[in-house]
Amino acid sequence: MQRRTVLKGGVSLLAAAGAPMVARAQAPKSIRIGYAVSLSGPYAPGAQSTTWSQYKLWAKDVNDAGGIFLKKHDRKVPIELIDYDDRSQIEEAIRLVERLILNDKVDLVLPPWGTATNLATAPVFNKHEYPAIHYTASAMRVRQLGPRWPYSFWALVQPDNGTEPLAAMCAQLKKEGKIKGRIAIMHVADQLGVEMATAMVDACKKAAVEVVYNKSYPLGVSDLQPQIREVMALEPDAFFCFSYPTDTFMVTEQAQVVGFSPPIFYTGVGTPFPAYVAKFGAKKNGVLLYGAVDTTAPGQKEYIERHKAMFNRGVEIGSIGTYGTLQILQKAIEQVGEIDRKKIRDAIASGTFETIADVYTFKDQVHQTAWAVGQWQGDEVVGIYPADKRGAKPLMFPKPKW
């Protein structure tokens, strides 16, 4: 430790001495940015639409504009992407991030896709002091990681602040006499589902609303109708399913088949996907979901058009959010005016960033006021909670019957 600090000090001294003359003359030809994302294997679908495509689009957008402006060199420098496929294997992702840093000596590394992969690679980013804004990661653990992993930022809503507004909403509706306040919870037996359900039960306890059903089902389940029937028999007026895409689709369809249509109907990951729109059409109206974006954010409409032009498909809130984190990174680099990872980290930690998804600020490296709850209203996912955010819309209640 001691030795390394001394060594580093020496190196930066040298660099400082040499820098002014050398650097101005030799501005980097490009900013080299690497990443390892799952392009094959079970994570590939999510990783490709939410993460990989956004990295590509952002790089194109930046380079179309001439690059990122580096004050220190007084010029725009284009981005060069170096990409790897981690084949949906976490060890591979760790190895590749390390390789990008040590062998490819890239200037910056973008985070991978998925909660587990992000949490597993974060120590590598921190060991080599590479800042990363993790978007596709939601876990209670990140709250404790702040001081230990100073280079990691968490931009997505986390299970606790993702569910508190839901419990508060139910309590409020109950007070107004609009619902009886009987809540049913179903969740996928996976980290995110379990944490969300646990947080939800806690929040309901605090808000004094009754949970009449709370059970898990395994990932990859092929039928949920018996469980839906069981829930239905309990006559809840709010139904929350902390689900992954396949089960999100299944629960929604089977609820429609058996005619389960409570006034509050919430499903998890997958609800904002274009496929959900294609499958359920107008029936999606009123369904609540995890996370949201500010649909009034400047630049979002143009972004959607560029996305359409490049990939010939629609966007979902996850892709908008991911793109937002890239804008944060870009703004932080421009603020610093050079590729100095320590300074970039500090800029992210202390700044406020207007993006196409949200206005971001990080406290303890977590975006504390992230969008928690969205709702399908017409053909748009609008942000509902936190209700005091810019762009928040009032809740549509009750959800229209299927």
Binding site: S40, G41, D223, P245, F249, R313
Partner: protein
């Protein structure tokens, strides 16, 4: 009532399990090829149904007229030009098995990769026949009933074919001993290819039907390959009704376990049953051999 409905749901899911396993049973049980890219045909069938419906408003059932022949020919070509050379090269059955697993594993990545590039990775789904039907007072979705009916019909048809026809006799002989079969004048390579291709065609049917009620994406194939493998091994390699019965047992056990104990247990029940069968009747529940 809820219990009855749970069992009924389990029966329908079980039928689907049986359906996805029938084709593998033809490919592995008769043509003796462990095809790890088996599920990719299901993925292809599902995407075909999806695109036909979204792009051209063609009924998913009508898309079978396209996907079934394509799957048949595709699987035939794979058998003929990728797997047959392995048979010739392999010194013995173990080597052959290892080689086919490697080759079809590679094939899996090729198909998945092409699908990813072509159609992107996102989840797809559409709504078709998601209308409630009432069976003895319980409510089930028509699309699931359809898959169940198809499973039963196909299993019975295959059973009849294998038991009562000349072709079936030859296929069973090949399943039992391909060397002896060729020495009683059975054209083993051609009929094996036929069985393999037919297995693919059935999987295209399964893909079309499953896509009506489960969402899917480019990398979903392997999930179904594994499921089918479990069902085939449980039911007995080469046994069509055994395959259906094993599927039904799995489906009902899952549903009952979920209802009576906890929904989180369905996977555990699945594997417990599988292990039990492996321990007690490694040759499969419905095998004589």
């Amino acid at each position: 009532m809820v219990l009855f409905e749970a069992i009924l749901s389990g029966v329908l899911v079980g039928g689907m399990y049986g359906l996805i396993a029938l084709g593998l049973n033809l490919q592995y049980g008769i043509a003796r090829m462990m095809n790890l890219a088996y599920g990719e045909t299901l993925m292809g069938g599902a995407f075909t149904a999806f695109w036909f419906l979204t792009l051209w408003r063609i009924d998913p059932l009508a898309s079978l007229l396209f996907s079934v022949p394509v799957a048949f020919c595709g699987n035939w070509l794979i058998y003929r030009y990728l797997l047959t050379p392995l048979v010739r090269r392999a010194a013995n059955r173990d080597v052959l098995e290892a080689d086919t697993i490697l080759v079809t594993f590679g094939l899996l990545f090729v198909f998945q990769g092409v699908a990813l590039v072509q159609w992107g990775g996102e989840y797809r789904g559409y709504t078709y026949l998601a209308v409630p039907v009432h069976v003895l007072g319980a409510t089930v979705a028509l699309n699931r009933v359809l898959a169940f009916v198809a499973a039963v019909a196909l299993a019975l048809a295959l059973y009849w074919l294998l038991r009562a026809t000349r072709l079936g006799g030859a296929l069973r002989a090949i399943a039992i001993d391909p060397v002896a079969a060729q020495l009683v004048a059975i054209d083993v390579p051609r009929l094996s290819a036929l069985a393999f291709a037919a297995g693919g065609a059935i999987m295209a049917v399964a893909g079309t039907l499953v896509s009506m009620f489960l969402s899917f994406n480019a990398s979903i194939g392997i999930v179904y390959t594994l499921k089918a493998l479990i069902v085939v091994i449980m039911g007995g390699v080469g046994r069509m009704l055994g395959c259906l019965a094993a599927g039904l047992i799995l489906g009902v056990a899952e549903a009952l376990g979920a209802y009576l104990v906890d929904p989180g247990l369905t996977l555990a029940i699945n594997f417990a049953l599988f292990l039990l069968v492996l321990l007690v009747r490694p040759q499969g529940l419905f095998s004589r051999g």
